[in-house]
């Protein structure tokens, strides 16, 4: 009998702290895809908050812990966050060039090669079967790093289309939600105005729910929509897939 393949789930700090349901939804999906899920204990944060703020040394200190933890798994790593997957696959190279040694960089290459964003993984390995009896309309928000750095655009939409009958498209597809890490509180007025632009576009589709692959985008959009009293729900792609393929815990 074949041993059950194992995959490592790197939840990311936002999911860990603010949206644990996304972590569980991701684990369920991976299990339904036939994997056993391990969460490496020592993986904390990819370092992006400090990296985006220009504090590369601090970012490297934190990222190194995660790098070593992920390297040690020796397994494929699934990340339910486009921006964190980008950090690992794209920016860690530069980060450890600036504040690391050759050994770090070797680990980076090793880890980056086996790190996947969730929808990318689902699309590549076969998303679990679900019933399209989910009538609630959905509009997908494309997060910036995922689309521009990882070129992951079709996969989340293809995955959603296997579960959702009514997926609408926003006129401002691909426009930034205005989070940008520290930007959201360094220039809060601009950040909120950017969120409004995206929200107005999303709302104009008439969809009931906004889906994204990044909890940070969801947090930004949800926070602003709630303040405006908008009738929109915000869910992660993992949660949509989880609901469609079995009952969430």
């Amino acid at each position: 009998m074949q041993p059950v393949p194992e995959v490592s789930l790197f939840p990311t700090c936002i999911v860990d702290a603010v949206k644990p349901e996304i972590g569980f939804a991701t684990a369920h999906i991976l299990e339904r895809m036939g994997y056993a899920v391990a969460v490496p204990d020592a993986a904390t944060c990819c370092g992006q908050p400090a990296w985006n703020a220009g504090h590369a040394e601090a970012a490297a200190e934190v990222a190194r812990t995660t790098l070593e933890a992920l390297a040690e798994t020796g397994q494929e790593i699934v990340v339910p966050a486009g921006s964190c997957a980008t950090m690992i696959r794209v920016f860690w190279r530069e980060l450890f060039e600036l504040h690391g040694d050759a050994e770090d960089r070797e680990l980076v290459a090793n880890v980056a090669a086996r790190t996947f964003e969730l929808s990318e993984f689902m699309d590549a390995r076969g998303a679990p079967n679900g019933d399209i009896d989910d009538p609630e309309s959905v509009v997908y928000h494309r997060s910036c790093h995922m689309q521009r750095e990882l070129d992951i655009v079709e996969q989340p939409e293809a995955v959603l289309d296997t579960y959702i009958a009514d997926r609408r498209r926003s006129a401002s597809e691909g426009r930034c939600c205005g989070f940008g890490g520290m930007f959201s509180i360094k220039l809060p007025e601009a950040s909120v105005a950017m969120a409004d632009e995206v929200l107005d576009s999303l709302a104009a589709t008439g969809a009931a729910r906004v889906v994204s692959c990044d909890a940070s985008c969801l947090m930004q959009l949800e926070g602003r929509a709630a303040r405006r009293g908008m009738d929109l729900a915000f869910v992660h792609l993992a949660e949509v897939a989880d609901r469609a393929t079995g009952s969430p815990t």
Binding site: V90, F91, R93, E94, E97
Partner: protein, 217 residues
């Protein structure tokens, strides 16, 4: 005041250690080959006529018509009092047509006179099918202002001078200007325009408000 050597030395010093390589976005080495465009330019003349029309120019004459007939037709529509005529070979005979129609020709190279002209007539050294552009050479035309100051500009363009793309001119400058460049070569595409106010396109700003093109042999 900085002199040339000091200036260039500063630039050389800046490049002394070369340019740091870009780790994440390494520089490509893609060559600058002639540009491939999607529109079908196999019928060069047809494409030129379409593009010129799209750019807001008006086609007012075809090569099968006598030039004199075309010019008179333009005079009827524009009803100019004064006309400026360039020295381009395509304009040979135009002065006679104007004089016999009783129209005053402005003194060449007289800025005030050209500014007072209602119509400027020039030839063109080339036409470009992709964009509908005409190319005017200041030495060939013996001036620049006939195609610039009057409200209407009539270009007499030989169909034999129409090429497919801007690259057919730019990548062959030595062929087009074997005796060296004139002080001014201008590619003209349609009437002058601006979109500075609310991005709404308005025609006829400082340059001519109308560009008329007569195709000649």
């Amino acid at each position: 005041m900085t002199d040339k050597q000091q200036f260039l030395e500063t630039v050389r010093v800046a490049l002394r250690d070369g340019i740091p390589p870009n780790l994440l976005r390494p520089l490509p080495d893609t060559p600058n080959d002639p540009i491939e465009y999607t529109p079908d330019l196999s019928d060069t003349l047809g494409a030129f006529i379409r593009s010129a029309g799209d750019s807001g120019a008006e086609l007012v004459g075809t090569p099968d018509e006598a030039l004199d007939v075309v010019v008179r037709r333009v005079l009827d529509t524009v009803a100019p009092k004064v006309v400026a005529v360039s020295n381009d070979p395509e304009c040979d005979g135009v002065a006679e047509t104007l004089t016999s129609a009783g129209i005053e020709i402005s003194a060449p190279n007289d800025i005030a006179a050209t500014a007072a002209a209602d119509l400027g007539i020039t030839g063109a050294v080339a036409g470009i099918a992709l964009t509908g552009s005409v190319v005017v050479d200041a030495k060939r035309a013996k001036g620049r202002l006939a195609s610039l100051l009057p409200k209407v500009h009539l270009v007499l363009l030989s169909t034999r001078r129409i090429v497919s793309t801007p690259g057919d001119v730019f990548r062959k400058m030595d062929d087009w200007f074997p005796d060296g460049l004139p002080s001014n070569v201008v590619l003209i595409t349609g009437p002058s325009r601006s979109a500075d106010i609310e991005l709404e396109i308005t025609e006829g700003v400082h340059g001519p408000q109308q560009l008329l093109i007569a195709l000649v042999d």
